[in-house]
Subunit: 474 residues, 2 copies
Amino acid sequence: MRLAPLLFAPLLPLLLLALPATAAQPTRIPDAALATAAQLRDRALADDTGWAVTESLTTEVGPRLAGSEADARAVAWAQAKLRALGFDKVWTEPVTFPKWERRSETAEVLGPHAQKLAVAALGGSPGGIVAAPVVRFADLEALERAAPGSLAGKIAFVDYRMQRAQDGHGYRMGSRVRGAGPSAAVRAGAAAYLMRSAGTDSHRVAHTGITRFADGLTPIPAAALSAPDADQLARLLALDPATQVRLALDCGWTGDYTSHNVIGEITGASRPDEVVLIGGHLDSWDAGTGAIDDAAGIGITMAAAKLIGELPQRPARSIRVVAFANEEQGLHGGFAYAKAHAGEIAQHAILAESDFGAGRIYGFDAGNIAAHASGAIGQIAAVLEPLGVAWLPGKGDAESDIGPYAQAGAAWAWLGHDGSDYFDLHHTADDTLDKIDPQALAQNVAAYAVFAYLAAQADGDFGSAPRMPEATGR
Amino acid sequence: MRLAPLLFAPLLPLLLLALPATAAQPTRIPDAALATAAQLRDRALADDTGWAVTESLTTEVGPRLAGSEADARAVAWAQAKLRALGFDKVWTEPVTFPKWERRSETAEVLGPHAQKLAVAALGGSPGGIVAAPVVRFADLEALERAAPGSLAGKIAFVDYRMQRAQDGHGYRMGSRVRGAGPSAAVRAGAAAYLMRSAGTDSHRVAHTGITRFADGLTPIPAAALSAPDADQLARLLALDPATQVRLALDCGWTGDYTSHNVIGEITGASRPDEVVLIGGHLDSWDAGTGAIDDAAGIGITMAAAKLIGELPQRPARSIRVVAFANEEQGLHGGFAYAKAHAGEIAQHAILAESDFGAGRIYGFDAGNIAAHASGAIGQIAAVLEPLGVAWLPGKGDAESDIGPYAQAGAAWAWLGHDGSDYFDLHHTADDTLDKIDPQALAQNVAAYAVFAYLAAQADGDFGSAPRMPEATGR
């Protein structure tokens, strides 16, 4: 599967491609639209719809692991919410994926320093009980150098500390430790895998997240320790290299499940079949209520479209909000959307997903943009600028679920949240509503409203065109 | 039990008593001792013994709930550590108390918004499973006004938000909600009790702590929700006042257990039978490793005495470090010490316990001080001042385990830690070593070393004398 790296490094930037120049007229956004967008921006800053939607999803549905009973409740909630917000059309599209269940997870140090460790099974881990000595590796590369069979009867422990960054780039390696570490442990013969959480906090809440074993390997129980527990285990191993841990996971794959992408549309006035797509993902991990990941993205984009829908006139193009199914376990909703709409790339003017929390948006970028559309991107950037958003060419990426469709050729935009604190919370029990700043969330809504409205009003396209059609298949 | 309020409000100041003036000479600290103390202070700031001891206890023993298997390991650890640090005498004194066990605890919202809640059983709670509607009270007073029987078949929920403060005074009410709330719920007929944690953080780690049901009441399951879970439950109740919660606690009292106060002494050169007592408590709650509560107190006071023991000459009086047993469930070690040493109050020159974390010490005060000793207190304050410690008459209290002996008449000192962040961690899984700042801990050791050394070198007493002898009984 050529897109597999996306599963583990969704933040890796896709290249901004300057497509071959054509004879097309430059894409331009009319002055009247720029003036309306400025008003929309200011209205959004004073509006609490984004907060209300985010609060509603996190409170009324709560945690919503893909395939759980809450998945179905989330799908029903999203349809009802889109209708209540006045969207012109609301529909669902099926997304089928393997279902993974977490039932219980414990870990404890055995022997003279017996104590419990706070642990979270990695998504995709099999269940199992392993009591064995632990071998610590400072990073993934060290584990990858371990000789085949050298960890027989041992638990591999990768103690890599992820770095904090505004753009979250520390997660590139953090997520590799989670995605590739278990397979490396299997290759060295380990009986189980532990890792320091891919996170930047210091709380006793471990960070879960998907892992996937390479083809041909027999999966082993794999889990993340909270940062203080990783510290503790490292100290205990320094005291006694024979330190043993008992890891007991009850979890695993249990057959297929069909959820749904939930889609709402503010129908365009003059080009209703052309679409500006914004959205977030509806599913979350199960320990928290998925507030920053990604109820905020749902709240931001539903609110932005709703505010556009309240303008005196519908924009030229349709604004489509997609609440994607099961992003967390492999962009399943994003792949399903790309497949279902494989023949409609050119009708998708441009895409943007909000899936990096609710910190203030500081950067704007776009990709798959035709040369004739670069001026229009600059016009959008100018209206975003009073929000504290800088145009940062080459900085952004097509976030999460829009990745497959972007890779297939759709133009995309990046509205980059300040993620300095994102990995304090990401995939933990601490991802709850209280961590969101309502003012920052309103700024996010303002930025998305400006972007979506101006893209919908542009005279001319942004460059969406099919390429690499095989990428839309699974 | 007349000291019962101490169990729930250990920070309530005991009054500084000016005892009747006598013909005694003013107590004075010799100039040479002041000079030595200044050197000791600077040496302590550059010494890492406090950190090493704190790290050792939290790592090698880990969580050490009174009466658990780790309690015995902690007692063995403390004896070995005192010997390794070069104390002249090391011994134990038995402390017997009822043993409480935590086996499991879960809570979940039932019905259309089903989701798990992060909860911790209160120490002393019985086990039980209750699924019932929840009635929210903004504070303890509101619950206390509920009519008898009015909460039959309901879960009482006190949603009081504890306030952050340098001196931790928000805990007076926070600990009352925990100590008195369950009894108030029983009086109103409730089937179970929930409270917002007595804490100041925003993490999914609930704050446990002891509660005790009033005589004649039938105990009910009682637990604390983490702050985000209390927020969530309040929102769900606002949406639907019939919201039901299922609380399942497996915990309870299981007979008596005998632990030990562990005592080490640097024996005085000229007045070996007179004692300056410093210490902390050896037990902790079970979710964290009890780093700030109270491994730090153990580390600070063992290190301070060890540094005094390394001086070229022993001080005049003995320095006694007490690692008290089972502070958390009712000052059991403190009461046992007071009872075992009831006839020796006058031989205890002065006492100080470190049981408020490892924030920088900002204040100094003393109580039960005779008028003729006030000048010596001022001399100690002057040597503490370069550490950033202000003399704050009337501000302090006799912390935790020294309370019973202070109430019996022993002079006491207060070296007040900055506790602004203390209740972010207190009694939670997050109370781990990484939360301690090694520099602040060294400042703490310096302050305790200065205090203990100068008190041990004072010519004359501080005013310890028996009063209220019945207070030393249980």
